[in-house]
């Protein structure tokens, strides 16, 4: 079983973000980076598929600056066998990231490629689908469970009001939803041993961007709140305002 997990580092959700002076990007000088949470589910599932199969390898792949090797090491600490870092300091748009990953994935012949369903910084939910399109492989996003047997895969997805089960052949590309699993903590010994695991560095084949970010701005300040009264007497007025003024009920 050959498994690849594509992951992205994102600013820690606890980090206070500020915008860079150019008005087009986020100031990352003091950002603490973490693996995008949905990608952690993808890593965990990759490891579980390998463990259930009793054989195989899991490779973690990321496109990012040299510093992203820390997040790859974390994946190696969780149990991933090796890492590939496509070194790129420039921000990429989704098609560029997808092309870079495809250049790596095209010749690997992975049975399964896992992504998080989307990265929690850009929230684009594009890269998994773009890679699948470029590779000509089937793609299932938001997976809640996956079972692999021989050359067949059975996938469950949470859908509105229920759960859908689908089956199909390998190879496949999937996007992990958070109901998929509970990611393990890397063990300290494994973090130390991860030093000895290989991280291959490659030059990404990004091609030209499709879009350019021309501005990032803060949201407009929220209008001030209004106190309509106190105690049970205020309820009728509050309901009236919610219905007639805010039109939310």
């Amino acid at each position: 079983m050959k498994i690849a997990v594509c992951m992205k580092r994102v600013p820690d959700t606890a980090t206070r973000l500020t915008f860079a002076a150019d008005g087009k990007s986020v100031d990352t000088s003091e950002v603490q980076w973490v693996i995008s949470p949905y990608d952690e589910y993808a890593i965990e599932e990759g490891l579980r598929i390998r463990e259930r199969a009793g054989e195989g390898t899991v490779t973690a792949i990321t496109v990012g600056p040299e510093g992203a090797s820390k997040e790859l090491r974390q994946a190696l600490g969780m149990g991933v066998d090796d890492g590939i870092l496509a070194v790129c300091d420039e921000p990429l748009d989704p098609i560029q990231t997808a092309r870079s990953l495809v250049a790596i994935l095209a010749d690997r012949a992975d049975d399964i490629v896992l992504f998080g369903k989307q990265a929690v910084d850009s929230q684009g939910a594009q890269v998994g689908a773009l890679v699948a399109r470029l590779l000509g492989r089937p793609f299932v996003n938001d997976i809640a469970a996956i079972e692999v047997s021989e050359q067949q895969v059975r996938i469950e997805r949470d859908i509105e009001g229920g759960r859908e089960t689908i089956e199909g052949p390998l190879p496949i590309i999937v996007g992990a939803e958070k109901s998929l699993n509970e990611p393990r903590y890397p063990k300290l010994k494994d973090i130390m041993q991860a030093k000895k695991k290989p991280i291959e560095k490659v030059t990404p084949q990004t091609g030209e961007p499709s879009f350019e970010t021309v501005a990032v701005t803060t949201p407009a300040p929220r209008p001030e709140g209004r106190i309509v009264g106190e105690g049970p007497e205020a309820v009728d007025e509050l309901i009236r305002l919610l219905r007639e003024e805010a039109k939310v009920i």
Binding site: D12, R73, Q74, Y185, L188
Partner: protein, 388 residues
């Protein structure tokens, strides 16, 4: 609840290796996920959150700086960062890990026989077995040399008699490392739970370290096999060397508590409105915050250098005394100042500062009181011991 971000004004992250940062972040996540949601209740209910012990073992946090016997073999900075993150959660949690690693596993690792190491260390490292360290007695705290617990040679066994007090993990421990006088010399003995003549009593009614089990140990004609002596330790230097290990962890841990209090106070100061503006806009509040951040940054620098000294074999017990004394003192001052800054909210469990403040009253007292560390430094500076 917000995830903890840490305080790093001097960008000390740049001085850490990738592995050290990953280890720190892993423990930080573990504390956010598994400790913060339960710690208030643990503290209020006077209960150690023992459900996390298997995870502590699985992650490799127990005896993490020891080599071999299923231990993680980390460097001192990584070990210190673990202590910092655990104590950011609660001093009782850090105490558990300090006692297990620094006071039980370390002496077995350093002074024990190969059989003792093989029997105890892997179990203790995995958290399948819990250890405690019995040195302090009801009437012998700062002066352990005066202990009256005794061991008598009786053929193929030793017979222990005496009482130990303020023993972290006592009631829950599967093995007690007990220090007693054999022919007038302080020696270490391993006493397994269930040994006839060995019993424990939980010490209740504490206002500090409530999420940690504190106990008395009683030995009444307790007979243990001769193999249970730590053959490599002879004299007060044995237990004192263990305390140096634990105090090293405390110097790091205290800064974790201080960071938790400072970050809480910083957020509160910028969101709490009085007189139509955040209280952080008032000079008295800004001075408190500036003092906190200054002392935290100094403590972090002390810890980093202390780790370097430890790894290069140059660290002395006196170096550790300076860091333990300074960092715990300032952590307690920061906790009190943060409590004050939070006003009435500071006395509730809505915020962690009151809990840290109460815990630190123990931390400044155990493992050498603040005053005893002052005298150790006085001795070092003048060459004249004031406690003899």
């Amino acid at each position: 609840m917000d995830n903890f971000e840490g305080s790093d004004f001097y960008i000390l992250d740049d001085l850490l290796t990738e592995e050290q940062r990953l280890i720190r972040d892993t423990v930080r996540d573990f504390v956010d996920d598994q400790i913060m949601p339960v710690i208030e209740d643990s503290f209020m209910n006077d209960r150690f959150p023992d459900q996390v012990v298997p995870t502590l073992g699985e992650l490799g946090l127990l005896g993490a700086n020891l080599e071999g016997y299923d231990c993680a073999g980390l460097d001192s900075t990584a070990y210190g960062l673990i202590m910092q993150e655990l104590e950011r959660g609660d001093s009782g949690l850090r105490s558990f890990v300090s006692v297990q690693g620094g006071l039980v596993m370390y002496p077995i690792h350093r002074y024990g026989s190969e059989e003792q190491k093989k029997k105890y260390l892997p179990e203790l490292a995995a958290g399948r077995s819990i250890g405690c360290f019995g040195l302090t007695e009801p009437d012998h705290g700062s002066n352990p040399e005066g202990m009256i617990t005794s061991a008598v040679d009786d053929g193929d066994s030793y017979i222990l008699n005496g009482n130990k007090m303020w023993i972290t993990n006592g009631c829950v421990a599967d093995v007690a490392l007990v220090w007693a006088k054999l022919d007038g010399r302080i020696r270490g003995f391993l006493v397994d739970k269930g040994t006839s003549g060995y019993s424990t009593t939980k010490q209740g009614k504490k206002f500090s370290l409530r999420a940690s089990t504190t106990s008395e140990l009683h030995f009444q004609d307790c007979r243990i096999p001769k193999d249970n002596i730590l053959s490599g330790a002879d004299g007060l230097g044995g237990p004192l060397s263990c305390l140096t290990q634990a105090r090293f962890g405390i110097a790091w841990g205290a800064i974790g508590s201080a960071m938790a209090c400072f970050e809480t106070a910083r957020k509160y100061a910028t969101s709490r409105i009085q007189f139509d503006k955040p209280i952080g806009s008032f000079q008295l509040v800004q001075k408190k915050l500036a003092d906190m951040l200054t002392e935290i940054t100094k403590g972090q620098l002390l810890n980093l250098r202390l780790s370097q000294l430890k790894d290069s074999g140059k660290m002395s017990a006196q170096h550790v005394s300076l860091a333990k004394r300074n960092n715990v003192y300032w952590a307690l001052e920061i906790a009190r100042s943060a409590r004050d800054l939070l006003g009435a909210n500071g006395i509730t469990h809505e915020y962690p500062v009151g809990r840290h403040m109460l815990n630190l009253e123990s931390v400044i007292t155990y493992e050498g009181t603040h005053d005893i560390h002052t005298l150790i430094l006085g001795h070092e500076i003048t060459g004249i011991p004031a406690y003899k």
